[in-house]
Amino acid sequence: MAPIIEVTHLVKEFGSVRAVDDLSFRVEEGTITGLLGPNGAGKTTTIQMLLDLITPTSGTIRILGKEYRSAREYILANLNFSSPYVSLPGNLKVHENLLTFGRLYGVLNLREQIDRLADFFEIREFMKKLTYNLSTGQLTRLNLTKALLNNPKLLLLDEPTASLDPDIADRTRQLLKRIQKERGVTILYTSHNMEEVEEICDKVIFIQRGRLKDEGTPEELVKKYGREDLNDVFLHIARNQTV
């Protein structure tokens, strides 16, 4: 089966900084893949190149078998994105935000779609509130609702649980799992929280200073490096020790 994401020899230079350095990886359909690495490893830069918000210096990105150059509209119609670092307009009401993005994606039967997702994410009771009045947990659910409006095949998430308290972070993880199970959405997400990654990822990709360090299932990696858990593996790799 063709991979949902196929990145080959991807490079991004900002002046003299090589944020992403000859990175190649694949994300297979229906999986949750974690893109891991310490701060400054190049995770956000990679995600933004996958979203066509940053132009790569060189290398190719194929999403759903296509490239942005020739199929921008097709790719973007079939993916979505969420991160606590971007927000939906606070001065719009929740339902106004959802209607706006639903229209931007050209969602058919938009109101029914919003109703369905509102039940799934339990956001119904604050649909009429202004978005800036929501709590962090409510915002997280709203962001995920927006991210599923267009029934994406691929979901890109940049540190989806960063800045969430443990309870809400856990609820978010359970939601991500359900999204993947019940809807078959492929998810690529960045994090530096190893327990979380170990819990929900089918596969992890370790990067450091823009380079691929290793990849595999969490169990494989733990075994390969002979460590207790993924956190140990992360420390081990991040501190640049050899196997």
Binding site: K12, A19, L53, I54, L76, V86, P89, T100, G106
Partner: protein, 263 residues
Amino acid sequence: MKWHRINALLIRHLYLYKRSFPRIMDIIYWPVMELLVWGFLSLYIDKLGIGGFNAVTVLLGAVIFWDFLNQSQKSVSISFLEEIWEKNLLNIFVTPLRISEFFVSTLLVGLVRLILVGIILATLSFLMYRFNLFELGFALIPFVLNLFLFGWALGLFANAIILRFGTSAQILAWGFLILVQPFSAVFYPVSALPSFLQGIAYLIPSTYVFEGMREVFATGTISSAHLWGAALANLIYLILMTTFFFRMFAYVKREGKLLKLEG
């Protein structure tokens, strides 16, 4: 271009106007106050009886036209800033939306504002000063259209600079247009400018509109030179500014700055 996406953003902006009284006031307050000042001044000048000069038509026409230009430029810039302030640029540009669709939607927001202000100012100036904007007849259409397009071109320019330098350059959204005013023969004819500035005046599309407006009020006809001048100058500006904006957008994508526009 897809209409449903343009429409989505148009409605998104109208949600804000629907709810926000200060926003509506921002559209109405300044133009109305300006109209009052110039209206009473015009009445006074007319009372002084300076021969061969109808202050009410010349000045009020200019005030209203100037505001059309102003509304158009501001709508384009403020709709763009709105997305930056609300950290929403990323959200909308990871949808299939195209930049061109984004700008057509801001253009339509501008059109809505322009029509609203146009109705209010035309009514008020007629009731208070017996000034009838519609005396311009059919010339009104190309005049307003040209002001609208020039405002759009200027708004695109301001937006391109904001894209390049971030919100520290956002003052341009408000302050930029005033730079055009002295040289665009708004309240006085081009001939009132020193000769070295007259050449500059004719590089500005709105100059032809203001000259044309005075011509229609004075003679009842309009020379095609003014209409063609405005259209041609506008075409050049629109091509330049659109190209400039697209280049800045590509620059920002290369530099990874699309999400770092604040501050």
